[in-house]
Symmetry: C4
Subunit: 207 residues, 4 copies
C-alpha cells in the first residue's frame, strides 16, 4: 500500500488547522507538541513543525521539510522540532500519512497512573473504535520512559509499538499517534483525549 501524501501547501493548511484546534482545547499549550504530514514516499519526505514555535499561532514559515533521517532538506530552513527523529522512526515503521504529538494533561496523568505496568489498558469503551480497535477488544497503549536522549527514545518507541493500537505514551510527557491520513491522526488525538479522560475520571471515582 502506498503512503498518502499532501502537497507542501496543503500540508501547511492541514497542520495549522490541527494545531489551532488542539491549542484551543489546551493540548498544545505554549510550544508543546509537534505535528508532521508526509509529502513524498519512498523515500519519505515529511513536513514537521519547527522547534520552539507557539502552537496557537503557527504560520507558513513555522514548518520544515525533512528527509527520512529527519534532516532538513534546505540549509535555510528553521530548526526542525527536537523530536523529529521520533517522527522519522514512525514513518519508517508504518505507512502513516501523518504523525501527531500533543501534550494532553489526560495523557500525562494516565502515563503516570500506569507507569509501573508500562501500558494503559482500555477495554469495553465504544470510543476505542475511533482508534481502530473493536469496542470490546483489549487495547494496550505502551508507555515509554521520557528519555532526554531523543535517538534512544525513538528506538524505544519503535521497540514497544503495538501494531494494533496507533499510539504510544511518553511518561509524564504526552502521546504520539499516527494514521493513514492527517484526518485519521487528528481523529486519533481527539479520541485519545476522550479515552484518557474517561480512564482518569473513573480512577478518581475509585473504579
Amino acid at each position: 500500500m502506498t503512503r498518502t501524501t499532501q502537497s507542501h501547501a496543503n500540508a501547511v493548511t492541514t497542520l495549522i488547522a490541527s494545531a489551532t484546534g488542539f491549542y484551543q482545547r489546551g493540548w498544545m499549550l505554549g510550544t508543546g507538541g509537534n505535528l508532521s504530514v508526509a509529502l513524498r514516499d519512498d523515500p519519505v519526505v515529511f513536513l514537521v513543525t519547527a522547534s520552539g514555535r507557539p502552537k496557537g499561532k503557527l504560520g507558513p514559515a513555522d514548518f520544515v521539510e525533512v528527509d527520512a533521517a529527519g534532516a532538513a532538506l534546505s540549509p535555510d530552513a528553521p530548526k526542525p522540532s527536537d523530536e523529529t527523529l521520533i517522527h522519522a522512526a514512525l514513518y519508517r515503521q508504518t505507512n502513516a500519512g501523518a504523525v501527531y504529538h500533543v501534550h494532553q494533561i489526560s495523557a500525562a496523568l494516565c502515563s503516570t497512573l500506569d507507569e509501573a505496568q508500562g501500558f494503559v489498558e482500555l477495554t469495553d469503551i465504544e470510543m476505542l473504535k475511533g482508534i481502530g480497535v473493536p469496542a470490546r477488544a483489549v487495547a494496550r497503549i505502551p508507555i515509554v520512559d521520557n528519555d532526554p536522549d531523543i535517538p534512544a527514545l525513538a528506538r524505544e518507541i519503535e521497540r514497544v509499538m503495538n501494531p494494533e493500537v496507533p499510539a504510544v505514551l511518553i511518561r509524564r510527557h504526552g502521546v504520539y499517534t499516527w494514521g493513514p491520513t492527517a484526518d485519521d491522526a487528528h481523529r486519533h488525538i481527539e479520541i485519545l483525549d476522550y479515552l484518557f479522560e474517561y480512564r482518569c475520571r473513573l480512577a478518581q471515582l475509585g473504579r
Copy 2:
C-alpha cells in the same frame, strides 16, 4: 398529534449547527455520535448523518435521507450512520421531530457508575425541568448494554424506554435523546450533560 418536520435544507442547517456546538464542547469528538431530523411523517422519512464523518466539520453532503426502516432513499447516497436503526426505532416509538446521540464523557462515566442497577437515578435537581421532568420527581434514565448487534440494541432500547424521560444511556458509549422538535433534542443534550456532570462530581465528593 402530528410529527414536526423540517425541509431537507433546514434540517441540514439545523444538524450542522447542533453538531458544531456539540463538537466544540467535546461531545462529538472524532466521528463520534449521530444526529437526525424528521423530514416527513406517516410514514416517517428522516435525515441522518452519514457514517464516519468528522462531526466538527460536517457539510451538506454528509447527510442521508432514510425511510422508516432506516434504508437510504437514494442509491447514490452515502452510507447512513451505523446506528440508523436506533433512530428508526425511536421515531417509531415516539412522535419525535429529532433524535440526537452524542458521546459525552459524563454520559459514559454515569453509565459505568450505575451499570449494575441498570439506570441513572436523578432527583431534586432544578435542571430536570429541562428534560421535561418536575424538579422533585424521580427520573430514571435507563442504561442498556453496548451491544455491537445494532438491530438487537435498537430492540433493547425500545424495550427499556421510559415514557417520562426522553433519554437512554448506552453503557460506556453515550446517550440518545429525542424531542418534539430539534430545538428540544438540542436542549436535552445540553441539560443531560449538566445532569451527568453534576451526578459524577457529587460522586467524586463522596455524596
Copy 3:
C-alpha cells in the same frame, strides 16, 4: 443613591452579551437561568428574559418589560421568566441596576455540599474582592431551599439576603447575584463560579 438604569436598546445589547458569554462557559445551558436590567427607577421597571428561551441564541424579541410587581407592561409581550418575582424582590430590597441568575454546576454542587449548614462559607481567598468582600473577611452566601412556589421562594430569598454579600444560592438549582450596574452583576457571576469551583475542588482534595 439613585439606581443605575439603561435604555431598552442598551439593556437588550447588555443582556445578550452576558447570556452569550455565560452560555459559552456552560452556565446557561438549555433555557436555564434568567437575567434582567433596570430601565427606570421609582417605581422600578426592568427588562427580563422571556420564559423558555434558549440562552445561547437570544434575540431582541426574547425580553419583556415588567413593573415593580413583575407584571408585563404590554399585553402583547411574551411571558416573562417564571422567576421574575425573585428579580422584583431583589430590586425592591437593593439599589441594583441588574439581577443575574445562572445555573452553574459549581453553584449546584456547593449548594448541595453545604445544604445542612444553610450557607457556603468562604474566607481567605483573593477573589472575594471581586464580589466586594475583603479577601480575609468571612463571606457567607445563604442557601435557600428550591421551592417550586416562586412567591414563597422570593420571600425566603428576601429573608436570608446578606447585605455584605451580593449572592444567594438556591439548593441544587443555581445562584442569584445583583449589583449597581450590569457590569457588576456580570463580574459577580464570573467570580462566583471561580469561588464555587475553588471550594468544590478543594473538597475533592480532602481540604
Copy 4:
C-alpha cells in the same frame, strides 16, 4: 544584556491579545489579574493594566505608563493596577520584558495544597522545559502569603524569588511570572496552568 522593550502601541496590542486569551480560558475572570510590558530600559518604564478593568474586554484606554517606582507618568492617566509595585519589583530584580499575573484556579489550589511547605515542588514532567527548567530537574515555585500590604508583599516576593524558576505563587490568590519577552511570559502562564492542573489532578488521584 539589555531589556527587550516594545513601543506603546505594540505593547497595547500584545497585552490585549494575552488578556483576551487568558480570559477565555478562565484565568482572568472579572477584573482579576494584571499584565505589563516594558517600554524603555535604564530606568525602566512599563505599561500596566489600569485598576479594576474587566480583562475580557480591554481597550487602549485601559493601560497606564508607569516609572520604575510604579508611579503613573501622566497626571491624566487612569489609576494603575493595585499591584503595580510588584511589577516594579520584578523589573528591578530581573531583565524581564514583561510581567504577567493571573488568577488561575489551579494556581490557587496548588498554593493551598502546599502552603505549609512554602513552595510547590515539580519534577520529572516534560512541560517544565516550557518555563526553562530541565524536565528532570526539581523546580520549586515559592509561595508567599497573600499580604494586603502591597509594598510588603512586593518585598516578600523579591526575597523568595528563585532565580531558576520564573514564577512566584501568592497563597489563595494567583501566580506571577515574567520573561525576556512578552511571548515568554505568555508561554509561562500557559505552561504553569498545565503544571498546576497536573499536580492537582494527581493529588485527587491519591498520588
